[in-house]
């Protein structure tokens, strides 16, 4: 039998812990189908929920609808931009879903009839459901900043969804002259992957330090603080002194307008002419959620934190980046954990039982150099109907840790990714 290395065990534990402590339930007895669940969206949230629904009750008929025949994972996409990983390695297929008995339909869900419990697909067909799970991820708010539309993104890539945008930004950095200025424009929170822009700055700095050491990175930020801030700054001072300048909103950091032709970004008072512009636009819940009326005035989806059922439409659950689950961040790990808890709630609801108390978990690693990573994590429970972090748990990596400690976290970062890909999309997608 193959032995499980300790480090992999630890990562596996991190990824399964949201489910296992409270219930790895007895497997439901096979027989007639005991319910129909349709999932719209096959990212970390939708894929995990579909697979775990089948795992905890094989009598439930599970259909997952997604227009893409595969998924391009966003964690590790900054590794590609920093030249540390091939973009093709982030593609995952649907084989693990099919192996779990999930019916995968390659189409887009476009309307939801919450009363008739039917969802209509772009090709015209309809699917009936007992429970619908909406996991559409994010949608960009084009025009925020002003002038930033899809055409502008071909010049000033966002690279906030993995695919051609990721390689575009990487190629722009490769083509840039030594001494160039790279700007990363960060929107006001909330947005997908809170530490992402700062990990990106770190790995771009790693690339530039080795290839174009006279270059500079400016982070123009619409926020006045950021995730793992002290740890990032400690790393930047040690590894990339003078290379990364962070401009918070309080120092006119918010980008209001862009001009792709002039390669210029405008803040309230300033103009920045740059060599490479990575503009991360404002975001809201994915299109289906907004079209179906699942969002509130914030642009995200309010949910019952116990079941992830929409506050706006009974019978519909929203998980992943699209839902409002703060203090949980919009991350792959949070989506994976929400998906498992949602699957358990749906199983209970289909059986007419009271759903159990959720146990939620998040881990986000950020790589700042090939042998240097930092992490933030949280364990969450429900208190008075709200998601709260368990007191005394979670937090960030220690400041001032040894190089050996940072290197271990870099190793665990890779293991975390392998584990969560296998857990969310199926063993067939293990990347190691």
């Amino acid at each position: 039998m193959q032995q499980l290395p300790r480090r992999r065990f630890l990562k596996t534990l991190a990824s399964v812990s949201a489910l296992s402590p409270l219930c790895l339930p007895e497997i439901g007895s096979a027989g007639s189908m005991s319910g129909r669940v349709v999932l719209a969206g096959g990212g970390f949230a939708g894929a995990t929920c579909a697979r775990y629904l089948r795992r905890i009750d094989p009598s439930v008929a599970v259909t997952l609808v997604d227009p893409q025949d595969g998924y391009h994972a966003c964690p590790m996409s900054n590794w590609v931009i920093g030249g540390l990983r091939q973009s093709g390695s982030l593609a995952v297929n649907r084989d693990g879903l099919a192996a779990a008995g999930v019916n995968v339909v390659r189409d887009s869900a476009i309307t939801i009839d919450g009363n008739a419990r039917k969802v209509t697909l772009a090709a015209g067909s309809t699917l009936e459901y007992d429970r619908l799970v909406v996991a559409p991820g994010i949608e960009f708010k084009w025009g925020s900043p002003e002038g930033y539309d899809q055409a502008a993104a071909e010049v000033m890539p966002h690279a906030w969804q993995t695919g051609p945008q990721t390689t575009l930004l990487q190629h722009q950095l490769e083509a840039m002259e030594d001494g160039g200025v790279v700007v990363i424009a960060v929107p006001a929170a909330p947005f997908r992957c809170p530490p992402g822009p700062y990990e990106r700055a770190s790995l771009i700095a790693h690339y530039l330090k080795n290839n174009k050491p006279k270059s500079k990175i400016i982070i123009l930020d619409a926020n006045d603080k950021f995730s793992k801030q002290a740890l990032f700054k400690e790393a930047w001072d040690a590894l990339y002194p003078g290379m990364i300048e962070w401009v918070p909103v309080t120092e006119d950091g918010a980008v209001k307008r862009v001009d792709p032709k002039a390669m210029a970004l405008y803040t309230e008072l300033g103009e920045h002419k740059v060599s490479v512009a990575n503009v991360i636009p404002a975001q809201g819940a994915g299109r289906l959620a907004a079209d179906a009326g699942l969002t509130d005035e914030s642009g995200w989806c309010p949910i019952d934190a116990k079941t992830f059922e929409s506050r706006n439409m009974p019978g519909v659950h929203v998980i992943g980046d699209a839902c409002i689950a703060n203090p949980m961040p919009k991350s792959a790990s949070a989506a994976n954990s929400q998906a498992k808890n949602c699957a358990l709630a749906i199983r209970a609801l289909l059986r007419g039982e009271e759903p159990g108390e959720p146990s939620l978990h998040n881990t986000c690693y950020s790589l700042v150099a090939p042998d240097y990573a930092i992490s933030i994590n949280g364990i969450y429970r429900l208190a008075n109907g709200k998601i709260v972090a368990v007191e005394g748990s979670g937090g960030v990596s220690p400041s001032g840790a040894t190089p050996e400690f940072r290197a271990r976290e870099a190793e665990y970062n890779q293991g975390w990714y392998e584990s969560i890909i296998a857990d969310s999309f199926g063993q067939a997608n293990r990347t190691s």
Partner: protein
Amino acid sequence: MPTLNGKPATYILRRLREFREGRGSPTIMDRIAKGYTDDELTRIADYLSKLP
């Protein structure tokens, strides 16, 4: 590096409790283990000990 595959639940539970107390040179497992009760750690250990 020691392996945990096939280790009994009692061993895994001992390690998890050590992590919760900050022992066993954790990087993140201490921050994770502190989020769970004794009962939950026991059930985690039991689950992991039964993995193929």
